[in-house]
Subunit: 228 residues, 2 copies
Amino acid sequence: MSSQLTIPTLQANVSLKEKTYDILKEAICRMNIYAPDAQLRLDERQLSEQLGISRTPLREALVRLEQEGLVNIIPRRGIFIVRKTKREIVELIIVWAALEGMAARLATQNASAEDIASLRKMFPAFSTGDQPANIDEYSERNIEFHQTILRLGGCGLLVDMADQLFLHVRSIRTQTIGEADRATRSVKDHRQIIEAIEARDTDLAERLVREHALDLAAHIDKNVSYLD
Amino acid sequence: MSSQLTIPTLQANVSLKEKTYDILKEAICRMNIYAPDAQLRLDERQLSEQLGISRTPLREALVRLEQEGLVNIIPRRGIFIVRKTKREIVELIIVWAALEGMAARLATQNASAEDIASLRKMFPAFSTGDQPANIDEYSERNIEFHQTILRLGGCGLLVDMADQLFLHVRSIRTQTIGEADRATRSVKDHRQIIEAIEARDTDLAERLVREHALDLAAHIDKNVSYLD
DNA sequence: TCGATAATTGTGGTATACCAGAGCCCACTG
DNA sequence: CAGTGGGCTCTGGTATACCACAATTATCGA
């Protein structure tokens, strides 16, 4: 038993606009906005009623979402969840490629050996070239892998900006990753990336990460048809 | 550069929150937030009075500014213009380097010959290695140069994100660029960058652009003392 | 019947009043 | 005189009522 009185920080400091923002963001990201029957329109008054709050904090949350590009507020028309066009998705991934490439570069220069080692430990099975058991698990690992590279770069802003971009791609990614051929190829790419970072080969690591991402962009550009 | 916020009164009829946002953003960017006597605190009620509007649209504008990182809203404490730390400035430039590097890469692959030629025409004097007449003009040209590279990449998101980052660095940049030695070096860098893009040398163009930016980051990290 | 126009309705935009927490100040007490 | 406690004030947070414009529908005239 501790001799100190430990207080579980009652910090209910979060304002309604914050909570509302989180809830809406989560809800929007979870839904499949590309389904043909997707309800893209939001009604302020109805939402405020559902959330049990007034329109004011709700609107402030919506303003934030609008600025992030998740939502489009058209004066006197309505509030609409934004459907990204294929072109926008591709641009998103291009920027992602730039960010993760820079992170990989920094990682080879600054990351500790232990941190880099953690990268390989994340893929006990994959590193031998095996195909992952199930797609869902792989998808999660995949996300985790890329986020780890971002973190190894040691540049917080790089991580934050990539996270924000990632929001928009999430619903696409899970659908695209499902193709078997791409999964095996992806595993191979990852192994090479890890090796390059371990070898502290800055240029190679950057190039592999960038090409891996741009390859996804090209794939989407060519094969995804349900956009636009 | 004034350390005080100067707010013109508006009485517009369209989208007060938009106009307010623009005015505040402009005002914050114009002031020297690193002056010792800078007034960093904003008062909602006082501002709304000066602008001739109510607090509601003003708050929505402030929420946007907060999300962009220009302002920090602390519940029941106040609203404060954010002073970036040196570390944050450096990270900003690192991300900038990644974005512009990618743009340069894309420019060598996709930009038309005419567009690339426009890059060189922007610097009739500089391309011969001469030092610019005055610092202010050079600073403007410098900004224009980098924004043009971003644009040549043909990726709109790259341009938008870089612009947003640029907001935060503007007040720093004008002060840093003033050092004579750096200006001459900068001109030389620019010439090399143009040549690389003209030669469609993707890797070289990317490297030069990246190193040019990271060089600024390193310079700020070592020599700027009025941050933190 | 068709078209133009006017009334209605529904949406986001704005103004305002009130709420609650954080700091500050001052009186009170030891 | 110093420390403490309470209340006053100032701040952002929230609720609500009203406004202006756009889309729609109803109505009237040709």
